[in-house]
Symmetry: C2
Subunit: 325 residues, 2 copies
Amino acid sequence: MTAQDLLDPSRKPCAAGIARAAAKITAILPPTPLLPLEVDGRILWCKAEMLQPIGAFKIRGAWHRLSDLTDKERARGVVGVSSGNHAQGVAWAARRLGVAATIVMPHNAPKAKIAATQALGADIILYQRPGEDRDAIAAELTARTGATLVHAFGDPWVIEGQGTLGLEAEAQVKARGIEGPLHIIACCGGGGLSAGLSLACPDALISIAEPEGWDDVIRSLDAGMIQPVADQNYPTPCDALQTPCTFPINFDILKGRVHSSAAVTPAEISAAMRLVFERLHLVVEPGGAAALAAVLTGKIEPQGTAVVTLSGGNVDWDIFAAMIA
Amino acid sequence: MTAQDLLDPSRKPCAAGIARAAAKITAILPPTPLLPLEVDGRILWCKAEMLQPIGAFKIRGAWHRLSDLTDKERARGVVGVSSGNHAQGVAWAARRLGVAATIVMPHNAPKAKIAATQALGADIILYQRPGEDRDAIAAELTARTGATLVHAFGDPWVIEGQGTLGLEAEAQVKARGIEGPLHIIACCGGGGLSAGLSLACPDALISIAEPEGWDDVIRSLDAGMIQPVADQNYPTPCDALQTPCTFPINFDILKGRVHSSAAVTPAEISAAMRLVFERLHLVVEPGGAAALAAVLTGKIEPQGTAVVTLSGGNVDWDIFAAMIA
């Protein structure tokens, strides 16, 4: 049994679900700023999701999922699998709802992410990455305890919740007096955010950026079928995007929907992080800077009104300093 | 003749002027986020002004002043005096209005601030700090060209403009469902922001934080009369707060109005900058972290609903890295 089997296969993410998620999320979380960044005479609208209470957009999907649990489900708790941003989202939502949360995290996750997840009151189970199968650990745990698995990307509620970022950005662009469809360039790990954006903003172009070596979604879309990452030992600073394989629920939405895509190198990500430091005065983690890196390098060419996700800011100081310097 | 003589002495900043400034500013600048930071079980509401287009709150006063210039005044241009944040505010507003701007900046201002001011199209005149009298240079310039001096803090429009930060924070706190008066803890250089906040939020407690060695406003308030900085060679990382002496227009408002105050050390400011990096994922410059440093050290004790100004984020990478490490 895999983690994926634990998801209800009859539940498909949809626009109505995203609208419901947006109503729940705007009730407790103010919109994150959409900040203009001028690059070569073009404005990139940067969605500053590191300013969410947990420092990443993952709070959206986690809140949508956990706030929909039945009383019986709440009593049995939740299990999350994450290198740290989804972990904090689940822990944050669980604490707010009084639900017990157990998070399966890689032993080499950023220290800041492990500490922040613990500070939110979650129990943490560390696994060896690479080496151990995190989904198998989560499946064993949920089978034994009856807890609900909240998958980081392959979950219909999570996809809907992440999609609310798109609705929020659309409204903010409109409030600036800018009309017409968006081109949303998103950082991509397992495809939860990009699938959500695809459903939330049907008129928008969607592009995705993955780290070099972890570009399984791009290769899957190119091949027309799901392809896992070839080498799980491939080094990357983008811990948040290190997903070995996307899920059918994500792939089926993204198939034929993604306008363009690019894999970016650590040096390209460093340059994007530095620009964000200098010009926007924000701390973006490596995985959260992939989309901007893809645009800055010209690997993804923005069309019309470009929205770029700066998806998280949970990065240890030593990593940040080494990448910016 | 000093720069101060160039200001219209009949013009006093007032609440009605702040309301007018707020209307002009909200029309073009979205509110900056007010972010909760939990410290020892208490929420500090941090006003993230580094997310303004120029990376600091100074855009408020500059826009209020320049947009009120007559056509004749616009044609003759403006002169600003600043280590960099007010400089960028004036340059930004001038570019938007098609007005020529000349900025008098210290030779040792942060490179990022000089570069950003130039990029906004302003002419820059560098002076030796310490050594040369910047106000005298500006006075000579305005006398010769007929340009309007936009002083960084001793100007009624500038004070009113900075005060809009307080109105914005009050509205944001209320939108969170929190009632009752605020305690605003502000970074203080010459007293433009704190004077504006004092007028904008008459029910709020106002506290000010200055850097060690540059605590002339605090000492002036203690003495009941304006006291200049004793040693203009005193080293400080807070270039934005290095004002040798406040002006009567600021002092008269602050006198008897400031609830508490503190001078903070470079080490205390470093700790505040690091906390902002880790928990809020924001880049705050040394001078913009003084208020938070004063609260974290317990030198200023927050009362009720505490709003802390994170007033700017324009800091060179080498300084930032050295202070955080």
